[in-house]
């Protein structure tokens, strides 16, 4: 049996529904249809009355989840695309995210955002907007890069007492495969060393982990050993693991598929520069998407986001300093 990243997300939801009567799923077309990406396939049948189609009302979808959470439920909201979460944004950042701090009542909701670029996706079906959620206090923002993490982190997201924005990468949905689902996992908040190396630390997350790994393989052919850190969670950030890696390599490249201004890469460089300044023996660098909307045409899209080729190129620049 071989499972995709998407299967893992489905399985995690099935597992959560099975084990915890407080869990339900609400989102456009998640019911009988099984979701735009089939992440809830067959779940409505398996769990009658607990996997429900919502109207096209992102604001009310999240609001409903918050209310249900107050009543002790553990709702999972599926946004059809991360890009459309902007119209549910207010309920996430101002309603869900402030509830615990204001009242002491926790708000365990999970908002699943199918995010990231795919060929032909275009400006409104490709966005990486994890940073706008991470900017607000009170939100946990997760970005699994592997089939195993998609599974175990989604389970943990549902179990957490806080609002979680779960960024699942559409490009990885069918692209990644694993033999089986994990029974153990790193906890949320811990980064993973996806590949060890001594010459340069590449810190990244989600789909870009695979571009970085590919670049690392390429560079190993040139004699460089690249360490790849997979953040897993972008808020909270595992500064310790990053710092330890930079302490070993002395060099840092941050790679993100999101826009540059104030993104994950900026946050990481800011942390390393201020807390681990002495560890660096070269200027830390970042590589992001270009600062324009995500283009539709594959020619442009491939140039817009970082790829193994551009990661390798950016890495070489640092290594050759």
């Amino acid at each position: 049996m071989s499972l995709t990243y998407l299967d893992a997300i489905r399985e995690a939801q099935a597992h959560a529904l099975r084990d915890d009567p407080r869990v339900f799923i609400y989102g456009q077309d998640v019911g009988d249809f099984g979701g735009a990406f089939k992440a809830t396939k067959n779940l409505a049948k398996e769990f009658p009355g607990r996997v429900l189609d919502s109207p096209i009302s992102e604001d009310a979808m999240v609001g409903l989840a918050v209310g249900a959470a107050i009543e002790g439920m553990r709702p999972i909201i599926e946004m059809q695309f991360a890009d459309f979460s902007t119209v549910g944004f207010n309920q996430i950042v101002n309603q869900a995210a402030t509830l615990f701090w204001r009242t002491g009542v926790s708000c365990p909701i999970t908002v699943r955002l199918p995010f990231g670029g795919t060929s032909g996706g275009g400006p409104f079906h490709s966005q990486c907007i994890e940073a706008i959620y991470a900017h607000y206090p009170g939100v946990i923002v997760l970005t699994p890069a592997t089939v195993e993490d998609a599974y175990s982190m989604l389970l943990e997201a549902v179990a957490l007492d806080d609002p979680v924005v779960f960024c699942e990468h559409k490009f990885l949905y069918r692209h990644l495969k694993a033999e089986k689902l994990p029974s153990e996992a790193l906890p949320i908040g811990k980064a993973r060393i996806a590949r060890e190396g001594r010459d340069l630390t590449v810190v990244t997350y989600s789909a870009m982990v695979h571009e970085a790994l590919e670049a690392a393989t390429e560079l190993s052919g040139e004699g460089w050993e690249i360490e790849v850190v997979d953040l897993r969670s972008v808020k909270p950030l595992d500064t310790d693991t990053i710092m330890a890696s930079v302490a070993r390599t002395g060099k840092l490249l941050c790679v993100g598929e999101a826009w540059p201004w104030g993104g994950v890469t900026a946050e990481i460089i800011a942390r390393v520069a201020s807390e681990g300044y002495g560890l660096l023996d070269a200027a830390p660098q970042r590589l992001n998407a270009k600062d324009t909307p995500v283009p539709y045409h594959p020619n442009l899209w491939t140039a817009h986001r970082p790829t193994a080729v551009s990661v390798a190129e950016a890495a070489r620049k640092i290594l050759r300093q």
Partner: protein, 331 residues
């Protein structure tokens, strides 16, 4: 000769009176510079608000808005909770973290509003939806709103959502003629806001909010229908806001003709006259109620003023509930 005091108007009136006196106290404290931030009153809206609060029971859900002191008291909020929040006592339900009308106790079904208008309605939906999933039946939830807030997308999405799920939602709209300074003519173009009901497929109820008896009856009927499983009920109540938007606002934009019209009547006065006329109470009883309420309010203020404000050094500066993450990832 007094009628038996079981007339519901009497209990309602007493709550309205308490709410009015509480509001008056906040206004006075504001003028005296004792309150940080804004003060928002429900003056003129007590009849509607109390009717909403009284239509609810323990186990129900209530999402009041800025003019619902009366409804809050009727639903069981204490005067002390209100006073502590306005005065920033660290012992209040919001612990100084939030203030004034942004208070509540979610576990008791009393939602603490966020400021974004319309945003609480879908939260009420969610609580009612959870009741259904948990097989708790017979509860209802009330969400309050103003005429202005009917223009928000949040209101629309939530009312439609409630209709699709056939949730026992009381959608209470106080059409008090103004949204801050904006008259209804710049807010909507339908003849009556209640005309919206058909477009959502929900029950429709109109009421003169200056008339307590009518409010109790109409809101009570709507609540009963929701409780009986007939789905969401839209109640549109007409009145005039008898104060500024907040206490910083002199509301000089409200035309005098409007103030002098029937719409501009003070529901508290109207109710008082009615109760006296019906001989359900007398002036002496009312005076007692008033002085009792004043004493309670003054006591609460005195107590809250003695209580400590929040201590920034003792404060836990954590926005998330997951303690293990706060420990592994300190700020």
């Amino acid at each position: 000769m007094l009628q038996p005091v079981t007339e519901p108007q009497l209990a309602a009136f007493r709550l309205m009176l308490r709410a009015r006196l509480l509001d008056d106290k906040f206004a006075a404290l504001y003028r005296a510079g004792k309150i940080h931030g804004g003060v928002f009153l429900g003056r003129g809206q007590e009849a509607l608000s109390v009717s909403v609060g009284l239509s609810l029971r323990k186990g129900d859900v209530f999402a009041p808005l800025i003019r619902d002191a009366a409804g809050r008291l009727a639903f069981g909020e204490t005067i002390l909770d209100a006073v502590r929040t306005y005065l920033g006592s660290s012992l209040g339900p919001m612990r100084g973290r939030d203030g004034n009308v942004h208070r509540g106790r979610p576990r008791d079904g009393l939602l603490p509003m966020i400021s974004h208008l319309g945003a609480m309605i879908s939260v009420v939906n969610g609580m009612l939806f959870a009741h259904r999933l948990k097989k708790i039946s017979g509860t209802v939830g009330a969400a309050c709103l103003g005429d202005g807030a009917t223009s928000t997308g949040a209101f629309h999405e939530a009312l439609n959502q409630a209709a699709v799920e056939k949730l026992p939602l009381l959608m209470v709209v106080a059409d008090n003629q103004f949204a801050y300074s904006t008259p209804t003519s710049r807010q909507f173009a339908c003849d009556e806001l209640v005309d919206k009901a058909a477009g959502y497929g929900v029950g429709a109820h109109s009421v003169d909010a200056t008339d307590l008896t009518a409010c109790l009856k109409v809101v009570g009927t709507a609540a009963a229908r929701a409780r009986a499983g007939e789905g969401p009920q839209l109640i549109v109540a007409k009145l005039l806001r008898l104060c500024g938007h907040g206490e910083h606002d002199d509301a000089s934009y409200i035309p005098p003709e409007m103030k002098n019209s029937t719409l501009g009547r003070d529901c508290l006065k109207v109710a008082e006259e009615y109760l006296l006329q019906q001989k359900w109470t007398d002036a002496a009883t009312l005076a007692t109620w008033r002085s009792e309420a004043i004493r309670e309010i003054e006591d609460a203020v005195a107590q809250a003023q003695r209580e400590p404000g929040p201590d920034p050094f003792a404060e836990k500066w954590n926005a998330i509930a997951s303690e293990h993450l706060n420990e592994t990832h300190p700020q």
